[in-house]
């Protein structure tokens, strides 16, 4: 058994989830073992990394404390995020989770801002623009129509 073969065997063990492997050839025996650092379970480890991102933890959104909510007359300069379908509007991924966005939050293009549900299809709505949430137009868990305005966004931030 040459070095190359042994290296290959070691890689084989590394890539699998077993702890030890014994192979013999021409009367010689090699035993490869490994100490498991933490969980040997790939899936769990991966899932564990994943969790924080989906737990609706937004990047700490700077709250514009000094900017008062602009008067209604300014609405023209705001851009609406509209609902792509008929359904139910949810501000958070689960009843006990933090909302995706709140008033005055800064949002990025492509950021998930809410969920619209219809027939057990949960549609995560992404913002098409960056800006600041000026107004959340619908209350949580209320029905929405196609094309109805969900948020008003100030693209100027």
């Amino acid at each position: 058994m040459n070095e190359k073969t042994i290296k290959k065997l070691i890689r084989l063990v590394e890539e699998s989830d077993i702890d030890a492997l014994e192979v013999s050839s021409w009367g010689r025996k090699i035993r490869i073992t490994r100490k498991l650092s933490g969980s040997s379970n790939n899936g769990s480890a991966i899932a564990a990394q994943v969790a924080p991102q989906t737990a609706a933890s937004l990047p700490p959104a700077p709250v514009a404390q000094t900017a008062p909510v602009p008067a209604q007359t300014d609405e023209d300069k705001y851009i609406a995020i509209k609902s792509p379908m008929v359904g139910t509007f949810y501000t958070a991924p689960a009843p006990d989770a933090k909302p995706y966005v709140e008033q005055n939050h800064k949002i990025e293009k492509g950021q998930v801002v809410c969920i619209v549900e219809a027939m057990k299809l949960m549609n995560e709505i992404e913002s098409e623009l960056a800006g600041r949430i000026v107004k959340i137009c619908i209350e949580n868990a209320q029905p929405v129509e196609f094309g109805q305005t969900l948020f008003l966004v100030d693209p100027a931030g």
Partner: protein, 317 residues
């Protein structure tokens, strides 16, 4: 797996190592590793190996073995345990994994239902799977994916004789009135564009009655509990993937039209008196049809009403 072509046939290690262009030690090592994964392989006098059987486990090699699909399930990420297959699928979709990529797991530690509700997952008894697709459809039509998946699932389960499979709108899959599979679809979209859809499905297959926790023992069931027979999970999964692929392609061409007959055939509600709870408001009436968008049409005192959401219960006479 070369030795699988002729089960029980003893292949010599030297033949295999020549054929596969690797060292004989690698052959023995591979055989041992496969045994650890649950394959039954005999190693005879250290110089011959014979294939006996494959385990009924959700391993990538088993799922793709002779899988007769074009793209659904051809790219497999298999895990022993994950928090939720939908979460991983979402990440793969963001990274633009090929369409039809699936994530399967023997166990989910945080199996999700709607709105943070749980889905009970028992190890190596069910199938927990998420499929990544990129349907080029109007987001307004996306809820149809929910019914499409339910119909594919009902067709798959119906291939086992003697089961009365019903779909309770929108997409609960029932056998003899008890829930045996659930579907949760997560879509990422903008106003006029679907980025991706994650089709999450949990199927109770080889659970026995006692495997279900007390709170759902009366309302949940599995295929095995109904048939009194153990089911080959990998075979069932392969059937489902094939059915889903053909229904998905049909849906992209015709919307729900092409699936309408089967939606009606499996419907648990049509023609029945129901109560629909929509955010605390109760509507009573007769369920009469499912429209092209998948909405439930109910004949109420105040005329026909179409619902896209709500909890339905059947009113017993």
């Amino acid at each position: 797996m070369l030795i699988r072509r002729r089960p029980e046939h003893p292949y010599t290690v030297s033949y295999l190592s020549k054929k596969l262009q690797t060292e004989p030690e690698m052959i023995t090592a591979a055989a041992k590793l496969l045994r650890v994964s649950g394959y039954r392989i005999s190693i005879i006098k250290k110089d011959k190996v014979a294939f006996k059987s494959a385990p009924d486990l959700l391993l990538a090699a088993e799922i793709t073995n002779k899988l007769a699909t074009k793209f659904i399930g051809q790219n497999v990420h298999a895990y022993k345990s994950v928090q939720s297959t939908n979460i991983l699928a979402g990440q793969l979709a963001d990274a633009r994994a090929p369409e039809g990529t699936i994530i399967v797991s023997e166990l989910q530690t945080k199996g999700r239902g709607r709105l943070g509700r749980n889905w009970f997952s028992a190890e190596e008894k069910g199938i927990y799977i998420s499929i990544v697709v990129y349907p080029n459809i109007d987001p307004a039509h996306a809820p149809g994916l929910s019914l499409l998946t339910a119909v594919s699932l009902a067709d798959t389960i119906s291939t086992y004789d003697g089961l009365d499979v019903r779909l309770k709108w929108p997409n609960d899959c029932l056998i003899n009135g008890r829930k045996t599979a659930g579907i949760l679809i997560e879509l990422s979209s903008e106003l006029d564009h679907v980025h991706h859809a994650i089709i999450g499905v949990g199927i109770n297959i080889n659970h026995q009655r006692r495997d279900f926790p007390g709170d759902i023992r009366k309302t949940a069931t599995s295929i095995r509990a109904e048939l009194k027979e153990k089911i080959h999970r990998v075979q069932l999964l392969q059937k489902f993937l094939k059915q889903f692929e053909s229904d998905y392609l049909l849906f992209r061409k015709t919307g729900l039209k092409g699936l309408k007959k089967r939606i009606d055939k499996y419907s648990h509600l049509l023609g029945k008196k129901i109560k629909l709870n929509r955010k605390g408001s109760i509507y009573s009436g007769k369920a009469i049809d499912i429209d092209e968008c998948g909405g439930l049409i109910v004949e109420t005192k105040n005329g026909l009403k179409t619902f896209l959401a709500g909890e339905v219960t059947i009113v017993k006479k």
